[in-house]
């Protein structure tokens, strides 16, 4: 079998497995017929969409399969900073200080999925919104900017998130 055909097959099976897992969680069905039907549906949707979800050029499983232990660390870390930022925004709404600014910085993450996750989590955390992600270059609207220095701004916004994401993916 040619390498490209094998890679397409792996992508189809992997994305189909994820769809099937989501379907299992959502339906909570236990009968064999329901499982077979769900599997058939998941594989059909996967056949139509695996090119979208798993990019052809990322031929490494660590580029899109997360390390489960670090996913747990990421969720705990993210939830903590998420609530801290939310309380800070509430303080600003009630009359506290703020210093809005658009900042630019780079990320060390390599995989598309990790970069997308970083951009998404930056937006998800109140106080920062990602405006653009171009290759490894991020443009962020920062509500509490205390520096215009690229690298420092990047370190403050990413707050260790990049390091954890680098262990979840690459």
């Amino acid at each position: 079998m040619r390498a490209r055909t094998l890679w397409n097959l792996i992508r189809w099976v992997l994305s189909g497995s994820v769809f099937f897992l989501v379907w299992l969680f959502f339906s909570s069905e236990t009968s064999l017929f329901a499982h077979l039907l769900g599997l058939a549906g998941a594989m059909l949707i996967s056949a139509l969409t695996y090119r979208v979800f798993l990019a052809d050029h990322e031929a490494g499983l660590r580029y899109f399969f997360p390390n489960p232990i670090w996913v747990v660390v990421l969720i705990v870390r993210l939830s903590w900073s998420f609530y801290l930022s939310s309380f800070r925004i509430v303080g600003t709404i009630l009359g506290g200080p703020c210093r809005p600014r658009i900042v630019h910085f780079r990320t060390r993450l390599k995989s598309d999925l990790a970069r997308f996750a970083l951009a998404n989590f930056i937006t998800w955390t109140p106080g920062t919104i990602t405006l653009d992600l171009d290759d490894d270059h991020l443009t962020v609207f920062w509500f509490y900017a205390d520096t215009a220095h690229r690298r420092l701004a990047g370190e403050k916004i990413k707050e260790g998130l990049e390091g954890i994401l680098g262990k979840v993916w690459v």
Binding site: V22, F25, F26, S28, F82, Y83, S86, I89, V90, T92, I93, L94, G96, P97, C98, R99, P100, R101, I102, A119, N120, F121, T123, W124, P126, G127, I129, T130, L131, D132, T139, F141, F143, Y144
Partner: protein, 110 residues
């Protein structure tokens, strides 16, 4: 269920329902208090993400069955993807439109 576990679960759920209420109301207040779309987007992100996430966490804690809990988990996962995407689209449009963001007076700065 162990009564201590039961009460701990109920109290935690109540705490997250309280967060839902506080962040939801603050976000709404921020929409009226902030002067421009950039900062209003920050207020609406508190409303949409923190309060809804708190609500879903509270519902997860008091879910009557594993089937229901798994559905709530899936909803949370989808929400974590879709909510920032919505905010990002609006912010990106603002950025490309060239609208300058609000700069608070010097005395307001922290």
């Amino acid at each position: 269920m162990n009564p201590i576990l039961f009460w701990a679960r109920e109290v935690l759920a109540l705490l997250f329902f309280l967060f839902f209420l506080v962040f939801g109301l603050s976000g709404l207040l921020g929409l009226f208090r902030f002067p421009d779309p950039w900062s209003r987007l920050q207020a609406s992100s508190v409303t949409s993400t923190t309060s809804v996430f708190s609500l879903l966490t509270a519902l997860l804690l008091i879910a009557p069955s594993w089937a229901m809990a798994s559905r709530i988990l899936i909803i949370m996962a989808f929400f974590m993807i879709s909510s920032p995407t919505g905010s990002h689209i609006i912010a990106r449009f603002l950025w490309f439109s060239g609208l300058p963001h609000w700069m608070p007076e010097e005395k307001d700065k922290g």
